[in-house]
Symmetry: C2
Subunit: 250 residues, 2 copies
DNA sequence: ATATACATCTGGTATGACCAGTAAAGTGAC
DNA sequence: GTCACTTTACTGGTCATACCAGATGTATAT
């Protein structure tokens, strides 16, 4: 969500290091962190900056902070919120990959719903938008952005803000995955096929078929990740994060 | 579920005030916040404490913070993540209530899925658990906690951590709503009926029926909130026609 | 008119002193 | 000994201040 291009700030550094140390077991779940004065020296930042990082972590369920007691590492995967997962994905740890099928599974459910509602609410505007997708440049980046824009549009038209907020949480993660996924021409071809079919469904106002199309597409993409050999996911830089629309692909 | 009892700290205060001022229009979306030195005096906290609050807000998509430039209020409902919504609900603003149907709708979808998976994975343990629900005390708090525990269990057995993290995000919010919802004996009665039916479905390993039961229960509870007298229960989402980003020159 | 340098905004970092809870160590009375 | 109280030494919470660093507008020199 934030711009990753900037130089890493001291706060970011402390934030990253703390998560890494928690995940890798230096500070296991349930144990106490060192005191802030010690920890700040250890991480090479001022106590001030450390505290700003601690506040971010504490606010999102990584840590249990209270005056007088030592700061404790929480059972984040059980007690934390969704931001935990996003923070984890940013670190790009090994277990990241194991989340992918789960996330795609959940996404397929949500997408089914917001697609149906979007087609019900705004079939014409949606079709109008999809018309542009026929003339897209055939490369990974264009496909990635286009698919992102499509879901962004569907969510806008569906009217349930919660979907957008969840979707945004995974923005960076999606960009990473999709960038890799659409390297394969066959995957781009399947995307185009889906767009075409979705266009037809939208023009015919067939909400159920549209929803099923998007749902099936996401589900089928799961296979790519499940069958992937154990190489690390491409962590190369993503597109600039702007979530703004009006990115009409030329 | 969280500790709200503690005295409000300076950082919490700044955090709360900033959100309030943002949602009430003192600092509208797209505008710049006052400088940290000014703002800290204004909020009655040290710049240091203010920055800790700003970091929490920035990290979750409320603000766009970067060195050299003024801190800007982001279009949080469009660009923020799920934590935004949770922060909003904590303030308990008017629009909070309008989110309820949307959230329940989404919840019903997810619950349908994790219930099915839970019954598929652990029908016996689930049934065993549900057996205890027959002898529950008949009051709001017991029902609230029991229903929470049920979903917690279902999510544990389903094996998709993402569900748990999303669920946790809304823990406090759920507690507030459920506590009110289960004040009505008829609502508690419906809960018990659901538990009984779910127990039967679990013992018979009927995943589809179990999933449908939980789904239907949540969906029906939406009516309570929609028909509630009070103000803004306007469930119909009004999208602000976001063809262009807001650009309000004054 | 253009380009450079500067002044001055903004946030980012570091330091040290002090306040405020918590809990364990110490100390007294019984 | 055991219990209760006090002290002490932690922990995080707050504040003030000086300074660093990036961004930007504005003078100034060419």
């Amino acid at each position: 969500m934030a711009n990753e291009d900037r130089q890493e700030t001291a706060v970011d550094r402390a934030h990253r290091l703390l998560i890494e140390r928690i995940v890798t077991g230096t500070y296991p779940i349930g144990t106490d962190l060192p005191g802030e004065r010690t920890l700040s020296k250890d991480l090479g930042v001022a106590r001030n900056a450390l505290r700003e990082a601690l506040q971010r972590l504490g606010h999102n369920g990584w840590l249990e902070i209270s005056q007088g007691r030592a700061t404790r590492v929480r059972d984040y995967l059980r007690e934390g919120n969704l931001k935990i997962l996003v923070d984890l994905l940013h670190i790009d740890h090994t277990q990241t990959r194991s989340f992918v099928p789960h996330l795609l599974h959940m996404w397929s459910l949500l997408a089914h719903d917001y697609t149906a509602q979007a087609v019900r609410n705004e079939p014409e505007r949606l079709a109008e938008r999809l018309e542009l997708y026929a003339s897209l440049t055939d490369n990974a980046e264009a496909a990635t952005r286009a698919m992102w824009q499509l879901h962004r549009t569907l969510i806008d038209y569906c009217g349930n803000v919660a979907y957008g907020l969840i979707f945004n949480s995974f923005a960076d993660f999606y960009m990473r995955l999709a960038q890799q996924y659409y390297q394969l021409p066959e995957n781009r071809e399947r995307a185009r096929a889906m767009w075409g079919a979705l266009y037809n469904a939208a023009t015919e106002k067939d909400t159920d078929r549209a929803a099923e199309l998007v749902h099936a597409y996401i589900r089928s993409s799961m296979n790519y990740w499940i069958n992937l050999p154990d190489t690390t996911v491409n962590t190369e830089p993503q597109l600039p994060d702007s979530t703004t629309d009006e990115e009409d692909p030329e």
